[in-house]
């Protein structure tokens, strides 16, 4: 056994109803870390090519980070991984809360579920001792009820991750819920859990994690915490929105420092961007065909962060997080207590659908959280259906009588209800926009804004082309949490890693759209760095402070006792990236098919608004990325050779 990790995983065969503990050699951690790196190492070989995502052969992993429980800040992220039913390739999803330490406190770095149970079950692990229990009484119940019931019936101190009705009904956009409404939402892994008839994972462990040098970690954490605590007073929401306007009208841009975003996150959470993003052209409007002109300050005012904060009763922190970007809200609706809607949710169910009703957004957010359905994909799919309705591809009779006009919040709530229950048109839309477009036909495919089947998140690649690159090249397409030109600026990797380009402090906006070697290297560096972060269980928002302020590599060395340089950790990140891509190739995925749709790439470009005239040849950018990754430039297959660093 080493330091920082437990060196053991728990394998659960749901078909046979058996569990077995597996020792993982230290070399695996040294090559792949824990978290998604460990999952990619194990799943690549054990999920056979062509495996049915809903079949017995698919494996669903719950993994904890290498730094979780060591005293490193921001290290509370856990990840689910498996073959995604939504994209057909590598699927992973990331979530905060307190499950990550709960996995490790039971003495495991991950729990891997294979097979399929006959009846509904849940796994209960108490102090490392696993037990598969019947969950018939919970089947069909929402995630909040399930969590409350399971905590109560296991003694009141357990930690739960569960699927809701969406996952049970195999909705391809279902996620896994934790802490009553935080979701490991993407890649459709909730449906994999539902297909395995695994209702929940219930953990109650008390072990401590052995750390090589806890004092050193504490020292590093204290220094990092000083940056987090540096919180000068900031503008109220209404004038703050004008920052976005200013960023739009200026012809040049300044390299972003993550401290600015940190201040916004601590004050308002991700919702701080609700208006700013629309103003600067980062938020997609009207199923990606609208612009900030369709959604001016007057329309977006209702969801401004101060308006959302009025419902907030307490800040929500994940495990080991000094920042606390989440919030617990209370409203007068039927649910009462709920999680504050995140930026992605507010835009997906708001601007993307031209809906400015904050009450409806919060209500739908809670409905989707309780059903265990991804709000990004649900919003994207509703926007797709709205445009289909506008174009006459879907009629009122197709929509079971719903008048699905842009911004009709009543119709949206009714549609969400149908999607959760899989009734009528909801049955078609519950599998996301790509599957729905295939069923609907009549040219609907052109309106589905997805990459490889996964709905695009709420950051417009026509504003920052780096988003489009990562939406298209990652093994899990359509993900906003891996990289962008903006993220590269904030990560400040060039301060620690040799050979990485340093972006200029000020630059003309047109520079962003020119593909070159530097941008490809920066994109590949973001992917590698996030693989290290997801192996360590770190949160993206902490990383935005920049590696010179958040000591990722020093924490890893202090936790494990290794003496690796930043560059060597980036090499680990590269190995994980290769492994995930190899998983996709093995599963028969054509990497080119993951490219973003023409509309999102600005082909043709928009004629008005923040991103007018902006477009990119996404395939050329993808090929650049593949080349610097050392992958086949024409096909995107990982292999030896190439100029990747």
């Amino acid at each position: 056994m080493g330091y920082g990790y437990t060196g053991r995983i728990l394998n659960v065969d749901l078909t046979r109803g058996t569990t077995c503990v597996e020792e993982v050699p230290a070399e695996v951690y040294e090559a792949y870390l824990a978290g998604t790196g460990l999952a990619s190492f194990i799943l690549h070989d054990r999920i056979p090519p062509g495996a049915d995502p809903f079949g017995e052969e698919n494996i669903l992993a719950f993994v904890s980070g290498l730094l979780t429980g060591t005293g490193a800040l921001f290290s509370g992220r856990w990840m689910a991984a498996g073959k995604s039913p939504l994209t057909g390739g590598w699927g992973d999803a990331n979530c905060g809360g307190i499950l990550s330490p709960a996995i490790k406190r039971n003495g495991y770095d991950g729990i891997f579920f294979s097979g399929k149970s006959e009846g509904p079950v849940y796994l209960y692990v108490k102090d490392g001792r696993p037990e598969i229990r019947d969950a018939s009484h919970l089947w069909g119940r929402d995630t909040v009820e399930t969590e409350e019931t399971l905590i109560a019936e296991t003694g009141g101190t357990a930690t739960v991750a569960a699927v809701g009705p969406a996952g049970e009904r195999l909705s391809l956009i279902a996620g896994i819920s934790h802490e009553k409404g935080r979701l490991a939402a993407r890649s459709g892994l909730g449906a994999v859990m539902g297909a395995k008839r695994l209702k929940a994972l219930v953990l109650d462990g008390k072990r401590r994690i052995d750390v090589f040098d806890r004092a050193e970690i504490r020292d590093l954490s204290r220094r990092c915490n000083r940056w987090v605590r540096l919180q000068p007073p900031f503008l109220p929401a209404a004038p703050a929105a004008l920052i976005g306007t200013l960023m739009r009208v200026l012809p040049f841009q300044m390299a972003m420092d993550g401290m600015v975003y940190k201040i916004l996150l601590r004050k308002w959470g991700t919702g701080s961007m609700n208006q700013i993003s629309v103003e600067m052209g980062d938020a997609p409007v009207k199923n990606w065909k609208g612009t900030n002109r369709d959604w001016g300050l007057g329309r977006s005012y209702s969801v401004n962060p101060d308006a959302v904060a009025r419902f907030e009763r307490m800040k929500y922190h994940c495990y080991s997080c000094p920042l606390g970007c989440g919030g617990i809200c209370v409203d007068a609706g039927p649910y009462g207590r709920m999680h504050k809607p995140e930026y992605e949710t507010v835009i997906a169910l708001g601007a993307l659908c031209m809906n400015d009703d904050l009450g409806a957004i919060m209500h739908m957010n809670e409905m989707l959280n309780r059903a265990g359905m991804d709000t990004i994909s649900a919003g994207g799919t509703i926007a797709f259906a709205m445009e289909c309705f506008e174009n006459g591809i879907l009629t009122r009779s197709d929509l079971d009588g719903l008048e699905l006009k842009w911004g009709d919040s009543g119709a949206m709530i009714a549609l969400v209800e149908k999607m959760i229950r899989r009734e009528g048109i909801g049955d078609v839309l519950a599998d996301g926009s790509r599957a729905a477009a295939e069923k609907i036909g009549r040219g609907a495919e052109a309106l589905a804004m997805h990459a490889g089947g996964q709905e695009l998140p709420m950051h417009d690649g026509r504003n920052d082309p780096g988003f489009n690159v990562h939406y298209s090249v990652e093994a899990t397409p359509g993900r906003h949490t891996i990289g962008a030109q903006l993220y590269y600026e904030m990560f400040r990797l060039w301060t620690e890693v040799e050979g990485l380009p340093r972006p200029p402090l000020f630059y003309m906006k047109g520079r962003k759209y020119l593909p070159d070697e530097e941008k490809a290297l920066a994109a590949a560096a973001c992917s590698r760095f996030m693989n290290v972060a997801n192996g360590a269980g770190l949160c993206l928002f902490g990383l935005f402070l920049g590696v010179d302020r958040i000591p990722v590599f020093s924490w890893l060395n202090a936790a494990t006792g290794w003496r690796l340089e930043a560059g060597e950790y980036m090499e680990i990140g590269r190995r994980i990236q290769d492994r995930k891509q190899a998983f996709n190739i093995r599963q028969g995925i054509d990497p080119l098919s993951f490219r973003v749709p023409d509309r999102a790439a600005g082909r043709p470009p928009q004629t008005a608004g923040a991103n007018r005239g902006r477009g990119m040849d996404i395939v050329a950018w993808m090929r650049d990325y593949w080349r610097v990754s050392g992958w086949d430039e024409a096909r995107g297959t990982p292999g030896r050779g190439g100029s990747g660093r």
Partner: protein, 139 residues
Amino acid sequence: MSYAIGDRCNGCGACTRVCPVGAVSGAKGEAHVIDASLCIDCGACGRICPEGAITDPFGIACVFVKRTRWPKPRFDRRLCMACRICVDACPARCLVEAAGDDPAGPRPYPLLKEAKRCLACGFCVQECPVGAVAMAEDS
């Protein structure tokens, strides 16, 4: 590494009752044993054993302390960042998150809710990354 029970054990069962992970077993009146694979080194058994029969992982005999004299965690709100590490680290589950006042809004600060259940293990102190927790005897 684990605590261990020596020859002086009289089988009173106090350690069995206090152990938060159920690592101690043994019949009443007979010598008890600690399962090393389950022991989390919290030391509660050592503090509660009236016979001084328990040794710590270094083989040093533990000293009995009256439970009312066991130190309890105190939280320094100026340093605390509401990160929930101590709440998670507590094997006795006697800490809860309580909304504490903060100029920028309430956050889930730790609170010793069930002081009687506290094992005085000090895990909250050891795991706090910013030194906001200290053990002190009740005054």
